[in-house]
């Protein structure tokens, strides 16, 4: 088991720190920077959907509705904590 952990640690650490080493040695054109700046938003999109529909197995609408509530609260610029509580409460009520 210890070797599994070591192997997994290497498999997750190398992709994480490699860019830290490379980024100084490589100057790239501005459009690459622009693409890199878009990565957080793209990643957030991919992390949200379709994953959110699997929150309750076999009931994709529960996650979708909770996501909608979260979106409304977030657009109203509520603190992240309230957005979390709103979404958690929604799933709780829908699965009672």
């Amino acid at each position: 088991m210890i070797f599994v952990i070591i192997g997994m640690a290497i498999a997750t650490m190398v992709p994480r720190f490699l860019p830290a080493l490379v980024v100084d040695k490589w100057t790239y054109p501005r459009w690459v920077s622009r693409g890199l700046n878009a990565i957080p938003y793209a990643a957030l999109g991919a992390l949200i959907f379709p994953g959110i529909t699997t929150v309750v197995e076999g009931e994709p609408h529960v996650g979708a509705i909770a996501g909608g509530i979260a979106a409304i609260l977030a657009i109203l610029r509520l603190n992240v904590m309230f957005v979390l509580i709103g979404a958690i409460g929604t799933v709780y009520l829908l699965t009672l």
């Binding site: 192997g7 920077s33 990643a43 379709p50 799933v91």
Partner: protein
């Protein structure tokens, strides 16, 4: 001499301010991590991992999706190579994320960059990226370090708790809390969309690509997220304004 001392005190107070802000920014991640970490601890225990193995995996791997998968694979008696390759695939998106974030830390020394890069997860990366202005502040690195450390502690202690006392959360609650991380991602994304609608287009493109890849093309989730993130990033080359670079 006196002014020098005053400057030092001034700088210390800036550091502690950055640390406080960072810890606060990490708090929502704690809410998302704790139930998942406990669930991982419980599953890993069922898979036959010892308490120290459960905790060590969280300390050295620090990647929720991979650890869940690994515990499941151990349960179905998969081999070492299989687990390591699957881990690499699931977590390869962190390479793309790290590249994006390290681009903002170009002027920072490796002594900061290496530990911060090792602490990047989907969640810490998202919070860090949306606070990228901190990278330009004198003591901004303390912000990222504190935020990551808060998230990391929640992850490690949550796993330990799961392994130690089993599932302490009522099922209805842990199921409800499963939505927490998604809600956090939404809360991070939408304010940016509100101030720049093109950000919403980028996110939408990547959602669509992820959906097509995962549901219709049946591509493994790890690769599907990588493909969607990269294509979303490519769309940003055309969508984001030129001055968005330095901001």
């Amino acid at each position: 001499m006196n002014t020098n001392l005053a400057e030092q005190q001034h700088s210390t107070s800036f550091i502690s301010q950055s640390i406080k802000q960072g810890a606060l920014a990490g708090l929502p991640i704690v809410f998302g991590y704790v139930p998942i970490a406990i669930a991982y601890g419980v599953l890993a225990k069922e898979a036959g991992l010892s308490l120290s193995e459960i905790t060590m995996m969280s300390m050295f791997v620090f990647a929720g999706a991979s650890q869940f998968m690994a515990a499941g694979m151990v349960l179905s008696s998969a081999g070492l190579i299989e687990i390591v390759i699957a881990t690499f695939v699931v977590n390869f998106r962190h390479f793309v994320m790290s590249f994006s974030f390290m681009n903002h830390l170009r002027h920072i020394s490796l002594r900061w960059k290496i530990p911060i890069s090792l602490g990047l997860t989907d969640e810490t990366f998202s919070v860090a990226s949306l606070n990228k202005k901190k990278a330009k502040e004198a003591h901004g690195m303390w912000f990222y370090a504190a935020m990551i450390l808060v998230a990391y502690s929640a992850w490690v202690l949550g796993s330990l708790t799961g392994g130690l006392i089993g599932n302490i959360m009522p099922k209805a609650l842990s199921q409800s809390m499963g939505v927490a991380l998604y809600a956090m991602f939404i809360a991070l994304l939408l304010p940016s969309v509100r101030s720049e609608w093109k950000v919403g287009v980028i996110a939408f493109i990547s959602m669509l690509v992820n959906y097509i890849c995962a549901v219709h093309l049946d591509i493994k989730e790890g690769w599907s997220i990588v493909i969607a993130t990269v294509l979303g990033g490519v769309s940003g080359i055309f969508l984001l304004p030129e001055e968005g670079e330095e901001e």
